[in-house]
């Protein structure tokens, strides 16, 4: 049977993928430009088909704490929001990371700071990859560059979250959330039964049938034990860094210059790369798919054969810091960005390569 190709928005793809892969619960609060996730779920009524719980919370704070509760009980639970709402969620995200629970968070980024704008942005890169909430923790951060990846990363996000008992986040921007593209949705499968949840998550608070009580907490007053907990977390993060780095390279083998970009900027950069090559400038595109763990080693290896790197971001220069760290400042690394909801066109990117790198 041929795969069914459908046309939809990135936000809608998130909702449909969640229903199809058997997510147990979604808890959200409306905010532009991601409200279609909750709207699509409400319209699809998955509680009548798969039994998925969909609940509009009273705030983003409540929504992430519903996710914290659901995750503590071993269920596949998720939330979505956009930048100001994700700031509110940081408390809960820190607790979820501290209690080592799996869940999926979606941030369809808009411009800030403050209430900012409803137009697209990538200015939450620092918040997502460098902490966001309090304490030493990391999120597994996936950056989709297409509606197809919005759908695919729901499943990938949950796989990684459960593999490492760590929250995963899809860091999309308003462009990816709002644009319509063709997409092949995952094959529907039933949610896990309660018995399967208990078998898969023996640590979860599900009612202590046939075992000692489980406690889900991030609290430990004895600093010696708390330090050991933190060391354990860092060991887990090292394992994730060793195993889960994902990136895409296009035309990198013969490239003299590299564009490093994620999300919608990678799509724009790809067009810029094609135009630059028509002009005879050998440009390659390196697209981090996991923003944490960042593809540090792969970029470092690439840096030995190229003259310079331009990062293209919808911010004032955030990922560029990780790129500079990756290449250890052995080659020039410059940044080009548009701010406040403006999306650059490919010609601006080519111009930036010429003025900032080739000179």
């Amino acid at each position: 049977m041929a795969e069914e190709v459908v046309l939809m928005k990135g936000n809608e793809a998130i909702a449909h993928a969640a229903i199809r892969i058997g997510v147990d619960g979604y808890f959200g609060y409306p905010i532009t430009p991601q409200s279609e996730v909750l709207e699509t779920l409400a319209e699809q009524k998955p509680w009548e088909t798969t039994g998925m719980v969909v609940l509009q919370a009273e705030s983003e704070l409540a929504a992430i704490n519903m996710v914290y509760g659901g995750a503590g009980s071993g269920k596949m639970v998720m939330t979505s929001s956009s930048s100001p709402g994700v700031s509110l969620k940081q408390e809960g995200i820190s607790y979820i990371a501290g209690a080592e629970l799996p869940c999926l968070i979606v941030n369809v980024m808009r411009g800030g700071p403050g209430l900012g704008t409803i137009q697209p942005s990538q200015a939450d890169y620092f918040q997502t990859t460098k902490g966001g909430g309090h304490g030493d923790y990391h999120l597994i951060a996936l950056a989709p560059a297409s509606v197809q990846e919005m759908a695919d990363f729901v499943e990938l996000g949950f796989q990684l979250a459960f593999k490492y008992r760590n929250p995963a986040i899809i860091l999309a921007d308003g462009v990816i959330g709002q644009m319509m593209e063709k997409v092949v949705l995952p094959t529907p499968r039933p949610r896990r039964t309660d018995e399967e949840v208990i078998a898969q998550c023996p640590w979860a608070a599900t009612g202590c049938k046939g075992r000692k009580p489980n406690v889900i907490t991030s609290l430990e007053l004895d600093p010696a034990i708390m330090e050991q907990r933190n060391i354990h977390l860092q060991q887990k993060y090292a394992e994730i860094e060793a195993n889960e780095v994902r990136y895409e390279e296009i035309n990198c083998d013969d490239a003299e210059y590299l564009i490093v970009a994620f999300g919608s900027c990678a799509r724009i950069a790809q067009k810029a790369m094609e135009h630059a090559r028509e002009e005879g400038i050998k440009v390659g595109l390196f697209r981090p798919i996991t923003l944490w763990p960042f593809p540090t080693k792969a970029l470092r290896e690439r840096a030995s054969n190229i003259k310079g790197i331009l990062t293209v971001e919808l911010n004032s220069g955030q990922m560029v810091e990780d790129v500079r760290l990756a290449v250890e400042c052995r080659i020039p690394v410059e940044h080009f960005g548009r701010l406040g909801g403006i999306v650059p066109d490919p010609d601006e990117v080519i111009e930036a390569i010429k003025t900032k790198l080739i000179k």
Binding site: D24, G25, F27, V53, L55, A57, E58, S59, L61, A62, A63, N65, M66, V67, Y68, G69, G70, G72, S73, K75, V77, E91, G92, Y95, A99, D194, A205, T206, G207, C208, K209, G210, K212, P213, N214, V215, I216, T217, S218, L219
Partner: protein, 259 residues
């Protein structure tokens, strides 16, 4: 009666519930938490819900509830327990899900989570310990601190012009359509303890029967925070707390009305 007679099962008049373990409690002597923990343990045991109970502990003195009750527990962020409980109950409808929260947790930082969980009619029970003070952080003003009452952050007494008025969350809860059973109890005498236990049992049963949300306020003492002996704290509570927080059922739709 010999010792052998006394310990015969038929002569047993009191025993510690099995769910209340032997860990030494960190609560101050005279504090109400220990009694309420025991009542919860007894009710869960008597309902046969030990293997299906999930408790949510707050931030405050009762944060370590899970150290004393041998059931599955999750520790919430300050004020967010009703959000956790809402999700868990919806994802596990046959589980007994309850939160245990103090006045600062429930009536201040978690006001929104409390009101909305109750008003959605979540089939959960919220146990609300109201001792009119922040106990764990050292006796600061709570949303329920009485006018004139002295705390670390209103050392000259609570003055409405500066601190606003004490909040009657249970009265608010009784006005919400989603609530089924809203009651205010205490545990300062044997009779009060028996009534409080009945209230907790009713609330837990309602939540298992899908009748809506339940709030059981326990007007409590914090003799350390109030800087009183346990005995004086009980007397002070009767004289000062009960007139402002009167005991009794505020709402009960669990039984069909008799015409």
């Amino acid at each position: 009666m010999t010792k052998e007679d006394i310990i015969k099962p038929e002569n047993l008049v009191y025993q510690k519930p099995h769910l209340l373990n032997d860990n030494p409690m960190h609560y101050c002597p005279g504090c109400s938490h220990g009694v309420v923990h025991k009542l919860i343990a007894e009710v869960i045991e008597e309902m046969g819900m030990t293997e299906k109970a999930i408790g949510i502990s707050p931030v405050g003195c009762a944060v370590f509830m899970y150290n004393y009750l041998d059931i599955d527990c999750q520790e919430a962020a300050h004020g967010r327990a009703p959000a956790l409980a809402s999700a868990i109950k919806r994802l596990w409808p046959d589980r007994l899900v309850f939160t245990y929260q103090g006045d600062g947790d429930l009536a201040c930082i978690g006001t929104a989570e409390t009101i909305h969980a109750l008003n959605r009619g979540e089939n959960i029970t919220i146990i609300f310990i109201n001792n009119a003070i922040y106990g764990m952080t050292g006796g600061q003003m709570a949303p329920t601190t009485l006018l004139g009452m002295k705390t670390a952050t209103c050392p000259y007494g609570r003055i409405p012009e500066i601190h606003g008025y004490p909040l009657k969350m249970t009265e608010i809860a009784a006005t919400l359509q989603g609530t089924c059973y809203v009651t205010r109890q205490s545990v300062h005498t044997v009779a009060a303890i028996r009534k409080a236990k009945k209230a907790i049992r009713k609330a837990f049963e309602n939540s298992m029967q899908g009748k809506g949300s339940n709030l059981v306020e326990i007007v409590s003492t914090c003799n350390s925070g109030w800087k009183m002996t346990p005995e004086a704290a009980n007397k002070w509570m009767e004289e000062n707390m009960f007139p402002f927080y009167p005991l009794g059922d505020l709402k009960d739709t669990s039984e069909p009305k008799q015409e």
